[in-house]
């Protein structure tokens, strides 16, 4: 499976998802090493990095692109081991244990992102709005669940609460959006919700067991 059709497309998705708020916040949780290369808290820095990466054919972005690719490969490996993937026609959607979703069409990765953490407008406009990080429509009206005594960043518990569980909830919530009234697939990514266990089987301890099964995790 090729990691995107070409480097240009890989960089485009890197810019849209990893370097665009607010999804970048989730990427830091999933791949903390990204911060060694780019300050994802700074919209200006993200923008500059993204522009340079494209202008220079990706040379300056190799390290970040490598981390993006590594997260995708790990997600696919976990998904296939645990059965957290669906195939519809030529398209396969896989979800890893960190919440990274990979979509493959034919034999080419076509997108890698963290569902529910991004902003469609920010992606469509290619750039985040200066000083303002967008949010998913509707999340503003939803009460965010209180997180009693949340685990410190860098721990497995933090990864679970900050990235994985919100992703699973988001996918289950958006599943029915996948289809149009006449049964056509509007978009493939929510379909993976059907391959996931019930949420009772995705509690933190169970998720850690899944992580252990795929040889991931450690710090709790």
């Amino acid at each position: 499976v090729a990691f995107f059709a070409d480097t240009e497309r890989a960089l485009k998705h890197l810019g849209d998802h990893v370097l665009t708020g607010p999804e970048c916040d989730a990427w830091v949780v999933v791949v903390p090493a990204l911060l060694e290369h780019v300050d994802l808290a700074s919209v200006t820095e993200c923008e500059r990095f993204s522009q340079n990466a494209c202008v220079q054919g990706g040379a300056v972005a190799q390290a970040v692109l490598g981390l993006y690719r590594g997260a995708a490969e790990e997600a696919v490996t976990h998904a296939f081991f645990l059965g957290w993937h669906v195939t519809e026609g030529e398209t396969t959607v896989a979800l890893g244990t960190t919440g990274v979703l990979v979509m493959v069409a034919g034999a080419v990765v076509v997108t890698v992102f963290i569902p529910g953490q991004g902003c469609a407008e920010a992606v469509r406009n290619d750039r985040p709005r200066a000083g303002q990080l967008g949010r998913e429509r509707g999340r503003m009206r939803r009460a965010l669940p209180p997180h009693p005594a949340s685990e410190p960043p860098g721990t497995e518990g933090y990864l679970y609460r900050r990235a994985f569980r919100p992703v699973v909830r988001f996918l289950k919530a958006r599943y029915h959006d996948a289809y149009t009234l006449d049964g056509r697939i509007r978009w493939h990514w929510p379909l993976v919700a059907r391959a996931l266990p019930p949420l009772e089987d995705l509690t933190l301890p169970r998720w850690q067991e899944y992580r252990a099964q795929v040889g991931a995790g450690g710090t709790s």
Partner: protein, 352 residues
Amino acid sequence: MNDPGPYIRDALLATRAGLTDPALLVDLWLDRFLDLLAACTSLPDEAPAPEAAYELIGLFGRLTRCRPALIDATGRGPAWDEAAVAMQGRLAAWLPQALRVPNPDGWLAEAGDLADACDDAGPEEELAGWAEQLLTDLDDAELVAWAARREGAPDAALEEGLARCDAWLRLNLDRFFPAGVFVQGLGQTIRPDLPGLDLGLAATADKVVVLLDALEDSQERMGPVRLPVAILTESWEGFPEPSLALAAATPVAEGLFSRRWRSPSGALEARLVAGPDRPGTDRVRVVFAAGDELPASLVGQPVWLAGQEAVIDADGAADFPRQALLAARAAGEPLALRVGEQRQPWRAVRDE
């Protein structure tokens, strides 16, 4: 014949094709409800923020409205029973907080924006999410208003505002069509006997009924429909009925009822073939295969058909009591297949 009630419309394409998954919705709602309730009851003074109280009460109403079989399928039936009791004990205390949240005028303004976006032919995928969110928001508000009435403390201003929202919805049903598959899934979560149990709660589901009516009308106007996807219904249509004549040794030219499912990865298949209901045919068998091979990984695994549990034997087959399946059908269970300890749903596919 079993009446699925007003909330399930087998004539609608997405329902017929088995594209909806009400179990996913119930799983999500219950998880969030239990999570939020635990967080709120752990607060020192048990005084949740208005938004949390609002969402909790909305979820409580929505789950109370659900088919019990779907709650049981989450594996958290006992947890729900316990939490529902705990919630009922707190309703009166938390309602004043919750009633500070709903804003019918805000909803109407945003609904107007949705209508504009529809007129401007906005991106369909965004319209779908937006319509679904607005519908859920209205549902939340109606469920909180129901809870207030139930506690003997109706909020007149909220009721008046919600009446205006409801009137808008009924005049603009097509604005919610982009979320039509969600509407069908939502309807399938609702217990068919709801009006008999709680008329006030059933009133919160009226909008689902009028939307389903409108979706059916629209589909009819579009002419004969056919499945554009190679997915077959999880409906029971054609499932052999018990024969009153008990077959009476009278040969009848009856066809076989068959269904096929595919694992999420697409590598494994399951096939159900059932003949007419005759004496001595008290089991229905589902056979699992990976191509022409017996999938060894599945042997010994639990499997659920329409919520009925069996175990895959050494031959790759699982047998289900026919009577239990008929009872599940009568209870409104879809003919869905879930496999393994994780109860992974398998996808119904066209039987070729």
